[in-house]
Subunit: 496 residues, 2 copies
């Protein structure tokens, strides 16, 4: 992993910590420096990521409770040129929320109030530290949902979701956060509070500055609150898992699903045979009939969300009928299809897909690549990674292969492929085999090296594979406009 | 109307025109200067807006055919400090696309190619000068639609739509352009080409700079092409018009519609009694039974777009049944409801709502206000305008009233109200009565003085009613970052 050179920002001292102690309650500070002298290990969960891949060595964690406190902290950091890492649930996969060196960690965990919700307009105003699942639970009695759902929902925070422009399972239906976030409150590096917390669905008064902070990974300012357009909760949900004899059938299956399910289609997810086998192995369950699936190359999970279950069921049943009847190049489109018949089965079909990251994490150390490439290239790209690792003797080349699984899965509706490589341990040899190889493959397809995860420490130095010189130059100018001292989340997004 | 002081930019001369003649084909230039010497009246359609409200006096219109030509033009303008107004279909309502003074007009009309369309992903790449309706027609055989529809579709251009973040009738269903525009190609004031023409649904590689140009009204750069996520075409559409005895019933009707139509709801439009009466008077037709509607205070048009007409019909019929049966504070929610039974009736019900701007324009000179306020305030805000005009003796105060109609209508689903004031002529007295009065009312509700139309020459000086000092300061810095010489569309969006 490339280390990030420590910039010329100031070194935190006892006086700084005392200054912060004058702003925040003592319970809002964790520091190994005097006057607190907490054991350094108390800072481990803030310094390290959950995958055990990225390690910072900050000596101070601040957990403000109000926007005014965040502003006061940043004013001091700006005056002193102290570098700062804003941190949400620290559930990221690219090391975007851990310090690269000894930055101050500013945790939003204590800002977790819902400020307002209007059930007529569906507009929610929530502070950055609200945990995604808590917001979902808050909205449930109002029959609304957050337009965002992802595996980490139990611990990720909405501010972090927005700062990383998190994607997840609902993008196909509800679009990206650039559309559903209506307003943001942001504390800028100099401590100014940029109040763009509009609760209006439409507002064309000047430049939409808040958009810059969506996906900026905390490198331009700190999101302290957000206003989000929340859709009405669907009153019925069903799903369907299909086994496809060959990946080549996917485009036709996707087209038919879009046509026949149209407005009720809410997810169209792909996972390849190796992912299916690993999850089955891990859970001891197989979701589909062994005999029927035979040597199927990949699997599709389709979800519908709608207002009337009988209508959705009719649409799904007709789709399944058509899929069984249709052939392409004289072979059937699918080998098998299972339609959920109960809430339990709905969950267990979803777990075939949602269980992949967990099963991978429990099997070994996981290299995660999150890319956008044309859907028709999903299998080619995954196979090229397998081939590369095999050639280097790292995968399926004898009993001692260091890599047990190479899996391709993702969101077909969004052209977003996840490649997970499960190794016995993180090693430079494996990393050098995978990178920049995968990024070069992505570049050759004019794809994105980060579809929904962000750049973080992992990919900031690889930005040129997806963005040209002129774009990078303007990003750098925007960074320096808002963060002229370069104190916000150094080493992430763009090097200055 | 406030005039915009001419900045210290250069005065166009014969040498400039000759320089441009070396870049563009002679048919791409209209100029009253030598060597062209076209009559100045040839430039009228570029200098003036269609409402007859804003008048510029440019002596040069350039109509490049390629991005390279746009870049070459801007390089010269930047070097010479010549001011430029980018112009699409010039269908705007706020004077954003006409020169404030003698700026060069850069028309995108000759850049009207579709570069690509992928029917699997639904992603369209089109040049800025494509007329919106032409794009709709292009997509029809591919069973997709543009996620944008507005009255001016026959002449507005997609580049102008994006530059003004146009809203229209499909925002409720498909969200704003900030979500559906996936990429932009922009020529910057210095002539650099910022290529962010991504065709990826998800791309988290660095700052999403393209967002800044959506809604910037051409004041940061010139959009030359866009990549747009286009949804599958609905296979069935129906509508329903309701007469509400009182505006107070609206919130309950809206909630019931959202619940019972859920994913098929594609429009929820309001128009008040005065708008209904004016359209009826203008067209000589009434959409609903006179006896049934009685003294109804306002009307609602609901549209559904879905995949199966029988499902949508069932949902609409149940909604109508429920609306007839439900009472609130012991009086019925609706007086009358008409469900379209044919394509013709579908059109004629829509024309009750879509016919308002046209009928207003044919009745007199129209002051148009496009605001976001909480839906429950729609009627109060419209009535406060009526009261104000009445007190000044301009409306319903004797036979000579200068104002014949004050109408409130708009997109309830988006909290977007249009107030149209129909006068015998544009006059300073009427304008001074309406402005800043309406903007102050909007400010008191923390609303937006421009929901979907933009600021243009009309509202740039009123920006402070919707945006605070810190936001305006940062907008100004962003403007100066991209347009350090202030040559792009001067007098629009933000004064520098």
């Amino acid at each position: 992993m490339a280390s990030v050179p420590r910039g010329d920002y100031a070194i935190l001292n006892e006086d700084d910590v005392k200054h912060f102690a004058g702003i925040l309650a003592p319970t809002s500070i964790v520091s190994s420096l005097p006057p607190f002298n907490h054991p350094q290990s108390d800072l481990d969960t803030y310094n390290n990521d959950w995958m055990g891949k990225y390690f910072g060595h900050s000596k101070l964690v601040l957990k403000p409770k109000t926007t005014a406190e965040v502003s006061a902290i940043m004013k001091h950091c700006y005056a002193r040129k102290l570098a700062v890492v804003p941190q949400g649930g620290n559930t990221g996969l690219v090391g975007g929320s851990v310090p690269a060196n000894d930055e101050v960690v500013l945790s939003l965990a204590n800002m977790s109030n819902v400020r307002s919700f209007d059930s007529m307009s569906g507009i929610l105003v929530a502070e950055a530290g609200c945990i995604l699942e808590n917001l979902s639970n808050y909205l449930a009695p109002h029959s609304h949902i957050i337009p965002l759902d992802l595996g980490a929902k139990g611990s990720c925070q909405i501010g972090g979701n927005i700062a990383t422009n998190a994607g997840g399972l609902r993008v196909l239906r509800y679009g990206s956060l650039h559309g559903s976030v209506l307003g943001l409150e942001v504390v800028l590096p100099n401590g100014e509070i940029l109040d763009q917390l509009s609760i209006l669905r439409k507002d064309n008064t000047g430049y939409d500055l808040k958009q810059l902070f969506i996906g900026a990974e905390g490198s331009l300012g700190i999101i302290t609150a957000a206003s989000i357009h929340c859709p009405p909760a669907p009153r019925a949900q069903q799903n369907l898992v299909l086994a496809l004899p060959s990946f080549s059938k996917l485009p036709e299956v996707f087209k038919l699903a879009k046509t026949h399910l149209s407005e009720v289609l809410s997810a169209f997810e792909l996972f390849d045979r190796e992912a299916y086998d690993m999850v089955s192995h891990h859970t001891g369950k197989r979701g589909l009939d062994e005999g029927e699936i035979g040597d199927s190359e990949c699997f599709v999970l389709i979800e519908t969300s709608g207002g009337r279950s009988e209508h959705d069921e009719e649409k799904l049943s007709s789709l399944l009928e058509i899929l069984y009847e249709t052939t392409s190049t004289s072979s059937p489109l699918i080998k098998s299809g299972v339609l959920s018949q109960s809430a339990d089965q709905f969950q267990s079909l979803w777990s075939l897909r949602e269980g992949i990251p967990e099963a991978a994490g429990k099997t070994g150390k996981v290299y995660k690549y999150d890319i956008s490439v044309p859907v028709r290239e999903f299998m080619n790209v995954t196979n090229s990674v397998r081939k590369r690792l095999q050639e280097k003797g790292l995968y399926r080349s004898g009993k001692d292969s260091r890599i047990s699984y190479v899996m391709g899965y993702g969101h077909v509706g969004d052209g977003n492929l996840h490649i997970n490589v499960v190794a016995d341990t993180y090693s430079q040899e494996i990393e050098d085999t995978l990178e920049p190889f995968i990024f070069e493959v992505v570049q050759s397809h004019k794809g994105s090296i980060s579809a929904e995860h962000g750049l973080g420490l992992m990919k900031t130095q690889h930005l040129h594979y997806s963005k040209g010189q002129i774009s990078r130059d303007w990003m750098r100018r925007v960074k320096l406009l808002f963060d002229d001292k370069g104190i916000m989340n150094p080493g992430k997004v763009i090097a200055v």
